[in-house]
Symmetry: C2
Subunit: 212 residues, 2 copies
């Protein structure tokens, strides 16, 4: 059975992005610090066309997040170029350049229709305007039996969590405080059977593995 | 040097107590679930005069929280019997019976003066009305070079954290959502040099060890 797996990094005070998200600071003020644990890893750098980096206990978290993944779902805010109707000149094709690191279909939740966008390396962005269940259905069909990665941001993750549609979570807790911003679990008060399986202790984050 | 060490259990969504705290539910609605990881441990049960229980990776967290401790500080809300002036008939001597599990002086932050309360087993509750720095100074003198345990609740922990007075944290993250209640790190946006040292992966909680 194809599972929907949330992979996200959260601050110690519960935020997955800081306040005042913008083109210059897509993760909001101070939000980039959340991902320091990933930026230093060879496994993450190789995916983003960068050399060097180290291998430590967090490498397993990167590997888990990529494992058996056939499609992804993300919110419009994470894809960027918004809010509002899609810009034309120049068009917005995501944060990741010509060859995004997904290599499978990515379903983007949006209120604004747009034809699918085929990139290099097997990534196609498909824009879904009829809600989370429709996005999940399309992603499941595209994944061909493999799992679906739920990437965020907070609003999208919280919608799927509140609806009980998430089958697994890899929550990387970064040892930083953001003080404000976008909160994971806002409006979610039930884990719908998700249980803590184990934690991975790493130098710059603690990775909590949940499944059901 | 005597260190001030915060020991507290937090839900995955950041709460250390649920909403509507009362005499019947001192940790608020649903808040008792936070401590399920401790209730099942032989190390915790023995301290509270109970038999049985198991030993697992969380046992180390209990041991760390007790290590080299000469005094404790807690808020009035955690001591109980409030809010407001102290009741007379019957008097409120805490939640823990005649022989509380501290066995050292405990400094209780309150707006209402009260003479020290000597219990069995070496626990004396001392009521401090002139703020967190005064409580820390008195606790440090009483601890005789050993560390001071900062027990909570949220308001007290957050005051000490915001003032940069905390030298170590053992945050036990319970894999539950409370949805509302008392939030750790409310009004705190800087860790003041506290760094993640390691995480202890246990069956029913993940224990994050911070020091500086």
């Amino acid at each position: 059975m194809s599972r929907l797996r949330l992979t996200i990094t959260m601050s110690l005070d519960g935020y997955v992005a800081g306040p005042d998200q913008s083109l210059e600071e897509p993760l909001g003020r101070g939000g980039m610090r959340l991902h320091d644990w990933a930026f230093e890893l060879a496994a993450w750098r190789a995916e983003h066309g960068l050399e060097g980096g180290e291998t430590n206990a967090s490498t397993e978290a990167i590997e888990l997040s990529r494992e058996n993944t056939g499609a992804a779902i993300m919110g419009r805010n994470m894809f960027g170029g918004g809010p509002g109707p899609w810009p034309d000149d120049p068009p917005w094709d995501g944060w990741w350049g010509d060859d995004p690191p997904f290599h499978h279909p990515v379903f983007v939740l949006t209120h604004h229709a747009r034809p699918p966008l085929e990139m290099s390396g097997g990534t196609t962005f498909v824009f879904v305007t009829d809600g989370i269940e429709a996005a999940l259905e399309q992603a499941r069909a595209a994944a061909g039996g493999a799992d679906i990665s739920l990437a965020g941001g907070a609003a999208t993750a919280n919608q799927f969590l509140a609806a009980g549609l998430v089958d697994g979570m890899l929550i990387s807790v970064a040892p930083v405080l953001l003080g404000s911003g976008e909160r994971l679990f806002e409006g979610v008060d039930d884990l719908h059977g998700l249980r803590l399986e184990r934690a991975i202790s790493a130098p710059a984050a603690t990775h909590l593995v949940f499944s059901r």
